[in-house]
Every structure is written in structure tokens, then in C-alpha cells.
């Protein structure tokens, strides 16, 4: 075992897979010689060669399309889109091509492409470096959508993504690259080295796609969260002094309905949390699923805590960010409802 932050864990996952499987190639803007603007691919080109870790032209549509072609021709491409906010020029290639190739060719063709992309706010990135577009991708059938919340899961889930035969859009909450963030920007940052999930095996291991994880057991309510918001939810539980169960959804698609709904049926109360905008957000899918499965066990209306329905404003990050205060208020609301 080694101590890793999230960037090191992702780097290690790609390093392990490049060494294990000659079909794995990495491609993206600045990922080669430079090692990526967030350093996630640092040293990989030097170690594995410039034909396996490729710098690309600045063209997200081109990157994803080329990855599809490579994947269809037997490789296992891992494409980096520098910021999730930059993914839209490649959206057609994801929605109309990557997600449908297997289906439309009745299994004759497929492209096992993994698209890694940093998402989320809290780094003063304004509206073009802060978005969380997971709902846009979860709505598309034919791709898996993943978002880890810690270094251990990041490595294990990325290896699972690369090894799988289906396309994966892999969101990396960049605010927690260097340490868990509880939503309080005024406090000094805490590093992954003091967090249990900062301990990561150096070699090969997997975390299965499609499984949520209970990160805190509790009896009074259930919080469904993912990415950065898992840590913010933990802070909110302390703030509200409610014995809430926290579930890290980890995979938006396919969704682990059993783990989520078993918990809500037990607690009878539920708060759904994400950083992305609220309207039509992924939380709506979670709320609908819980309502369908747990209606007769629910003691209170399910609450959603999310980013406001505006672009991410540069000056008002912390007013926009759904911090522990807002989650705590929602927890009070669901637990005090009679």
C-alpha cells in the first residue's frame, strides 16, 4: 500500500494498465511530454513511449472520434478532456457514436473507450472550468458514467473502466484531487495522506462499476451523494447532529438501486445532493428511483440540495456551491417532518 492523492492514484491506474495491457493508449491535450495540466499523466510518456501516450491537437471532437476509431480497431484508448467544460465539441461523438456503436451494429462493432475529465467547481474557475455535466451523459444509454470521491476508488474504478468492454465517461472532481474537501473554503485544506481512502495499493486492483458504497452508517436519514459532495455531506451530518447514513453513489449509470433503496427503506428519510445545477439534474433520477422503490417507507418528502440553476459564477463560488449548511438544513427538514 502507498499514500496517494487522487491525481497520483489516477496516474498509477494508467501506469498499471499501460504496463499490463499493450492495447492501452492514452491521448489528450498536453497529456504527453507535459504530463497533463493537472499532472495526471506525468511521467507516463517517458515510461511507455510517445506512441502509447499521445499529445493531441486541440480538438475534443477529434480526440473522442479518434479514440472511437482506435477502440474499434482493437485498442483500449483512455482519452483525457482537459476540463469537462470543454467536452461539448465531442458530445456528438459520444451521444451519436460511442454510445450507439454496439447497439446499431448488433454487437458487430464496439469501442471500449474511457473518457477521463475533471469536473466541478471550487477552484475559482468561473463558468468554463467548474461544470458538472454528469446528468447530460447519464441520460445517454450505451455509456457508463462514473465519479469517484477518493484516491482508492479513483484508481480501482479507472482500472475497471479501462478493462471493461463498454465506453465509460469518468468524471474526476478536481476540487478533491489533492485532499478531501468538506465545503468550508475558509478552513486549511486537508490532504489525502491523513484520510483512510488515501491508502491505495500500488499494483492492480479493481473497484466494480455499478456499485454504490455506504461511507457512513446511520439510522435517521439517508444522504445520496457523489464526488466532492460525499465529503461535504459528512461535514453536514456533523453540523446537523443527525445520525444519517451517507451513500457514495460512485456510478451514475448503471445505478446501484439496491444499495440506495435498502438504505432509504431503513431510514425512511432521504436527501439527495449534487454540485451540478438542480433542474433536470441527476438528483431528479435519484429522487424518482427512491420514490418508486421506497414510497411506502418514506416519512418525509425527499429533499434535493444542488447548485443553483445558473452558470457557475466566478465571484460567488461559495454562495453557489451547495455547502454543508444547505445540506444540514435539508437534513433538519426531512428528520423533523412528522
Amino acid at each position: 500500500m502507498a499514500r496517494m492523492n487522487m491525481v497520483q492514484a489516477l496516474n498509477s491506474a494508467m501506469d498499471v494498465m499501460l504496463a499490463r495491457d499493450p492495447r492501452v493508449v492514452i491521448l489528450g491535450e498536453d497529456v504527453g511530454y507535459f504530463g497533463g495540466v493537472f499532472r495526471a499523466t506525468e511521467g507516463l510518456q517517458r515510461k511507455h513511449g510517445e506512441h502509447r501516450v499521445l499529445d493531441t491537437p486541440i480538438a475534443e471532437g477529434g480526440i473522442i472520434a479518434a479514440a472511437i476509431g482506435m477502440g474499434a480497431n482493437g485498442l483500449k484508448p483512455v482519452a483525457e478532456i482537459q476540463f469537462a467544460d470543454y467536452i461539448y465539441p465531442g458530445f456528438d461523438q459520444v451521444v451519436s457514436e460511442l454510445a450507439r456503436l454496439r447497439y446499431r451494429s448488433a454487437g458487430d462493432f464496439s469501442a471500449p473507450v474511457t473518457i477521463r475529465t475533471p469536473c466541478g467547481g471550487g477552484i475559482r474557475g468561473g463558468q468554463t472550468h467548474s461544470q458538472s455535466p454528469e446528468a447530460l451523459f447519464a441520460h445517454v444509454c450505451g455509456i457508463k458514467v462514473v465519479m469517484p470521491s477518493n484516491p482508492y476508488d479513483a484508481k480501482g474504478l479507472l482500472i475497471s473502466s479501462i478493462e471493461g468492454d463498454d465506453p465509460v465517461v469518468f468524471f474526476e472532481p478536481k476540487r478533491i484531487y489533492n485532499g478531501p474537501f468538506d465545503g468550508e473554503p475558509h478552513k486549511p485544506a486537508s490532504p489525502w495522506s491523513t484520510h483512510p481512502r488515501g491508502e491505495v495499493p500500488e499494483g492492480h486492483f479493481t473497484v466494480p462499476i455499478g456499485r454504490a458504497e455506504i461511507v457512513r452508517e446511520g439510522s435517521e436519514a439517508t444522504i445520496l451523494a457523489y464526488g466532492t459532495m460525499v465529503h461535504v455531506a459528512e461535514a453536514a451530518v456533523k453540523m446537523a447532529r443527525v445520525d444519517a447514513e451517507i451513500i457514495d453513489v460512485r456510478t451514475m449509470a448503471p445505478l446501484d438501486v439496491d444499495t440506495l433503496c435498502t438504505s432509504v427503506c431503513k431510514t425512511g428519510r432521504c436527501v439527495v445532493v449534487h454540485e451540478a445545477t438542480r433542474f433536470g439534474g441527476y438528483g431528479a433520477e435519484l429522487v424518482a428511483t427512491v420514490q418508486e422503490q421506497c414510497f411506502w417507507n418514506l416519512e418525509a418528502p425527499i429533499q434535493r440540495v444542488a447548485g443553483w440553476d445558473t452558470p457557475y459564477p466566478h465571484a460567488f463560488e461559495w454562495e453557489y456551491f451547495p455547502g454543508p449548511g444547505r445540506i444540514a438544513a435539508a437534513l433538519k427538514l426531512v428528520t423533523e417532518a412528522r
Partner: protein, 427 residues
Amino acid sequence: MPPRSRLHVPSPPARPGQEPDFSYLQISPAGLVGRPDVIAAAREIEELSVQMVRVLGEDHRAVGPWNPHLEPEELQVGLRHMLLTRLFDDRMQKIQRQGRISFYIKSTGEEAVAVAQGMALQPGDMLFPSYRQQGLHVVRGRNLVDLMCQCLSNTRDMCKGRQMPIMYHWGSGKIFSISGNLATQFPQAVGWAMAAAIKGEDHIAASWIGEGSSAEADFHHAMTFAAVYRAPVILNLVNNQWAISTFQGFAGGEQRTFAQRGPGYGIPGIRVDGNDFLAVYAVTQWAAQRARQSGGPTLIEHVTYRAAAHSTSDDPSRYRPKEEWRAWPLGDPIGRLKQHLIALGEWSEERHAKLEKELEAHVTACWKEAETFGTLSGGPALDPLTMFEDVLKEMPPNLARQREELRALRDTPALPQAATPTLVQKG
């Protein structure tokens, strides 16, 4: 062994620790490239896309058919604008390093592109810049305080705190809003120009894209629409050699010049020495006249060098030689125009030093004024409730509800989350 295919992976001529090497750069001597009629057919002037239009010679004299014959006073204004742009950039970078703004992008070394072009165009022409053409604002007389307040996201911020620094806009100055996503403005400029022609107006549009982001599909969209409708637009490709860590070879610059893409679409391509103020002015004037006479679009490749880091989040010493700019064969646009004016007997080192001091003091005074409208750490602050405005023209009910939710939260001391914003460094 039978021949087999192998990928070509472009590699820059020099990496950190190596000697800078610009031997790949094809440079025409000043004055030698011919100046065709502005309504010449694109296919007859293809050589302009391979050669390099240059006016300023080694002896600092203006030579050849592209000499725009500007009055010394105009040249002095150009020098002043470029110098002010550079000093403004230097100051804002320092201010970012002190943690007083979150981010900045300098245009050092490529000031001639925005300044000479801004001066060659008419005030009614619409500009669609990328994020390294702040010189356009300087040319059009923008108060630096406005630019600084945008970078500060303060109470005088034109973007109301919604955009990262340098993502300026100026409706009345006819400078479009900078998105932050690359290349998107290029085809939009074509649409603006099409509208001008549809409406029977005399105005043209101009846009700027980097050589790196010319790999985006938007570049192709712009070229195709501009060519099909012969839109009155000037499409500028600023080839500053580096796109963060990838050199121009990764955008396709190894096999052909970027200007040569023009003829492929039926658009004239002109390759110009982007650090030669007079040459940039002249080709812009040519392209503008062509556009106004229904000659259609022109693609101009400005060959220049990104002397600064990509942004304050970038560290170029990791991927290129530290001394590369000093070895850049096309020099410094400010130094070259200054020497030209001195050679004309219209400038001196003393006057230059005096101007620099005057502009430095101006930048300082502007910053002092900008700070009075609020900083990240104090002074007057924008009301966070304004973030719900302008999503749509009329605020929809969900946003009105959310605004009230935030208002209540802000007024509840038990929930400290909606406190004053705090600076978190990016990157």
C-alpha cells in the same frame, strides 16, 4: 522487411535545456512580397500564403509595396498602445501573483497583432477576439479601470462577477464577449458579417483564433461559411508557436503554413510577420478593403511568439527552453516599431523612457481607482443575489425561488456557508 506504417509524432525543435532552434521558420526578406489588387481572385494570389509579408527591414526602414505609409503621429500612437498593453499585462500578472486576482493571461510579444489590426479597422467593425487580444480594447480607448474591475470581479465589473479575469466584452465598443471556450467565436464572426451584408451595412467583422485551437471544428465551420457566402470577415490565425505545452506542429503546422489552409477553401491566405507593426497594419487594411468591396473573407496567419506563459496557471519552463523568446528571429514588436521611429528621426530613447514612465503611472493610477470598487479581500462587494439575473431575460420561477432561498440562507447566521467569497488559487 516489407514497408509498414508508423505514426509520425511531432516533436518541437527544442525542449528545456536545449538550444532554441527556429530553423523551421521560413522568412521572406522585408519588401520582397508583392501586393496584389484587393479584388484579385484567391487562386491567383496563393503565394501570399507561403511567403511572409514584411515591411520593416534589418535597418529599421519601411520598404516594399506593403508599406502602409503611416504618418509618424500614427506610428507613435501605435507604439503607445502596444507599450500600454504590455505594461498593463505586466502589472496584472504581478497583481495575480500577489493573490489579488484569481487568474491572468498576458499577450506579451504579440501586441502588434491586436494593436495594428485594431488601428487598421473602422470603429464600426465588429471584433471577436480570443483571450490574448486585450490590445483591441486599448486601441478602442477602453478605460483600463474597466478591464481591471472585470479582473477583480468587483462592483464595477462589466460581467457582474460571472466570468474569470480577462473574459471581457464591450457592446458599445463593438468587441464581443469572450467565452473561455476555444475557437467558438470564429464562426460567430462569420455569422455577424453575413448579417451585416444581409442588412446592407458597410461594417465588417474580424476574429482571432490561436494556431492551437484552429484544430477545433469551429475553424472549419468558419472557413466554410465564410467561403460559401463570401462573408465580409477577416479571419486571423495567431500562430504564436505554443498552445500550452504543444508546439505548432501539433496543430498541423509542419506540412503547410496555416495561411495555406485559406486557398484550400477558396479564401486568400496571407502569411504576415506578426511582430512587424507595419506589415500587420497593411495586410489588415488590404483584407478590410477586399471585404468592403464584396471580395469576401481573408485568412491572415500572424507569425509571432507567445513570450509569456499560456496563463498564470502555466509553467512553460517545463516544456520549452527558457531562452526561446530571445532567439525568436522576428524580434519584439515594440522594439522594432521604436527603432523604426528612431530611424525616421521621430522618436528617441529619452522620449521612449519618458512615455514608459508616464504609462506606468497611468496604470498605477487606474489600479488605485479600480481597487476602490472592491477587491477579493475587501471594500464594496457585489450582491450575490445578482447571480440569478440574466440567465434569461425574465427571471423564471425556479430562479426566483432559489434567489429567495439564498437570501434566507444569507440572513441566517447559523449557516455560515453563504459568507463572503474567499480566494482559492486555481491550478
